[in-house]
Symmetry: C2
Subunit: 204 residues, 2 copies
């Protein structure tokens, strides 16, 4: 097999995370622009936060920061040309089902469109992203076999793989989302997406 | 008096804060480029953190985040053309004396040069920034009357004014540094400096 000439960037994201939302919505356009190979790494932040001694997102635990994040998200959505920001009525939402489906599709051509649709369900339509009928409707709209994928997402194999992936995040030092890796080099936050891509190109 | 035609940006910073260091080093060049009026607002993060229930900087309290910040600072210093990053041997350093001097000089032409010299003492030379001889040497190098300024910095008036300024930061919702304000609009972090300046220009 020929080796892949494109530098690789790991993209660790969580469907409940509002700053992951910003990166998910814009990352495939950046991939096209910058010519990197993207490795989609869905994981769960809940076990990571609990492992760090936090009972919840810092945006919930720290009221001042949580209030600020609403203003920041409104401005960032405007900056990136996304739908006007609305504070979700539930935060952070349970995201285990879409994370399992994303793990199934991580190297499939539909991973980007699926992930954007789940993020819009959460942060634009303000709806439950963990409901099988909602996730199924997204898959069907992408002309995918929703029932078969949902059944596979509930298999012990995929459940175990998502736990392993979250453990891998912890082992690599992840403490928030989104997080990007280029080899061992870690970049935290949507604000570092461009830096991570540039680093990948420079060190390829 | 003629009104000032330039939009105003408040710059809340702390000499012990490494991300404040990045902003202090580059902000006067940005002021020139973007045409805003800068209001220097030195304050102390310690009382703010304690008021939020934190005993220390989150970079000390959260080991994973603290380790990451070292990598991030190394990359950011390179990006901005600053001296190579060295992890300070004491973090966060006591900063009450330089903060009082900065409050004295907040609307003086030497505030930028003084603030950069204190930041370099902390984050490049890795030395005590709270020692009167060190702060005095910086003032002397700027052709300022060091003894008179240090005496004034220790006056009850300036001590009280720094406490008031830190209380003002808290009242405005500040939870970290650097923080920028354009009117009531708050921007947190060195990564938002450009956004704050642009917002000031757009809303002037």
């Amino acid at each position: 097999m020929a080796s892949d000439p494109l530098p690789a960037v790991e993209f660790w994201f969580e469907f409940a995370s509002n700053y992951s939302y910003l990166s998910v919505m814009r990352i495939e356009a950046e991939v096209q622009r910058q010519g990197v190979r993207l490795l989609w790494k869905p994981f769960l932040l809940g076990p990571i936060f609990r492992g760090l001694g936090m009972e919840n997102s810092p945006f919930v635990g720290q009221k001042q920061k949580g209030a600020y994040v609403q203003r920041d998200m409104a401005r960032q959505c405007r900056k990136y040309g996304l739908a006007p920001w609305t504070t979700p009525s539930v935060f952070p939402r349970l995201s285990v089902l879409p994370a399992r489906v994303a793990l199934l599709g991580a190297d499939q051509p539909w991973i980007g469109a699926f992930s954007r649709a789940v993020m819009e369900l959460n942060f634009v339509k303000d709806q439950d992203i963990n409901a099988p009928d909602q996730v199924g409707a997204i898959l069907t709209a992408l002309d995918l076999p929703a029932d078969a994928l949902l059944a596979q997402a509930r298999s012990d194999d995929i459940k175990g793989r998502l736990r392993q992936q979250t453990e891998q995040a912890r082992a690599q030092g992840v403490f928030g989302a989104p997080t990007f890796f280029v080899g061992d080099e870690m970049f935290w936050g949507n604000d570092r997406l461009e830096d991570a891509f540039q680093f990948a190109r420079e060190t390829a």
